[in-house]
Symmetry: C2
Subunit: 190 residues, 2 copies
DNA sequence: TCACTCTTCCTAATGTGATTAGACAATTGC
DNA sequence: GCAATTGTCTAATCACATTAGGAAGAGTGA
């Protein structure tokens, strides 16, 4: 019985590979175990069942996303920062669809301190990216929410095949960024 | 063996009740059968398995949503129409979360003619609602996409518990509608 | 090196749910 | 009333999650 040398991270990393390749919904302990060359019950030495894997995958995805956004916004401000954050968000969701889907399952993640920290970091980055729009207090939070709504809406529709093919999603995305920019700028100018 | 008097619609209606009450993901044939007072295999006389139920539920949800949007926009134009469509969309997603989730599973629905027709109807309604913004050709379609992105993003985040509680989602939603309005109006005025 | 302990992995078993096959009763059409 | 059809059932299989309990690898201290 040679040991496989697994640990929790290896299990979650395998889960991420499978979820990103085949979709979050097709993630099963049986498939993770097969990917790692062990039997399903062996995974219970490292994780606490499928729900735990999903939670850890979501927290990992949220942390990766926050880190990606943080790097994207470094040294930028105003429309430039908004544009960079938006593209970083979309790129993460496209390149890691399973991890992204897991990171957005708020109900599963609501008591996870790692996911919490990552989400707070992401909000901080978004606030920073929007700083030049001069929003204060509650309005700044509403603005972050609206940005998140736009990016999450676009990412899920794109990832899950919601756009009919005829028209370029790239162009829609650029227009979406400009729409958010114009919408946030409105008050600044009025 | 008294007959239960089921048909396809009764099965899908039961599925809608369960999905709207307990979430799309918790929908199982076993639970639908229990709800209807029969054993799971009996459902196969009316539907073609769980995937078929999900598809039918999605098509039904898409049709209900399109109908709701259509009624909301009747007799309205400009911001008034946008506002009405947005609220109708949000209300449908909140009051029928399971049906709404099913209606947005594009992969499952892509070959379903009923869902197709409903989605085309919804696009037609959205184009009508935005007519006053004076968008032509591809830009009109991009605008419909952006509106859908905003509404779908908001609906999923709200429905799945994505908003931290501190700040009113209602206010975020009103600001979102105004942001879309301002973003679409921009070109009109420039 | 050896014994002890902890950990990791295994097999076996249980439970839930989807699905298929085949029996049989209720209904329908004549 | 009778035959055909239809709706429902039981029994069985399969996939997956999960638990229980056993055995072997790996580290530790003598």
């Amino acid at each position: 019985m040679p040991r496989a040398g697994l640990d929790t991270d290896a299990v979650v990393a395998a889960a991420a590979r499978l979820a990103d390749a085949d979709g979050f919904e097709s993630l099963t302990l049986a498939r993770i175990a097969a990917e790692l060359g062990v039997r399903s019950p062996s995974l219970y030495a490292h994780v606490d069942g499928l729900d735990d894997v999903r939670r850890r995958l979501g927290a990992r995805g949220a942390a990766e996303l926050a880190e990606t956004l943080s790097r994207a916004v470094e040294g930028r401000a105003g429309f430039d920062a908004l544009h960079a954050v938006a593209h970083a968000y979309r790129d993460y969701a496209r390149s890691h669809p399973g991890s992204y889907a897991a990171s957005q399952r708020s109900r599963d993640l609501q008591d996870d301190p790692d996911a919490d920290a990552a989400n707070r970091a992401a909000v901080r980055v978004a606030l920073a990216a929007l700083r030049a729009y001069g929003l204060e207090g509650a309005d700044a939070v509403h603005a972050v929410r609206m940005l998140r709504v736009a990016l999450h809406g676009f990412a899920t529709l794109e990832t899950e095949g919601g756009f009919a093919l005829a028209l370029s999603p790239d162009e829609t995305f650029e227009q979406l960024i400009e729409l958010v920019d114009a919408g946030l700028r409105r008050r600044l100018e009025s």
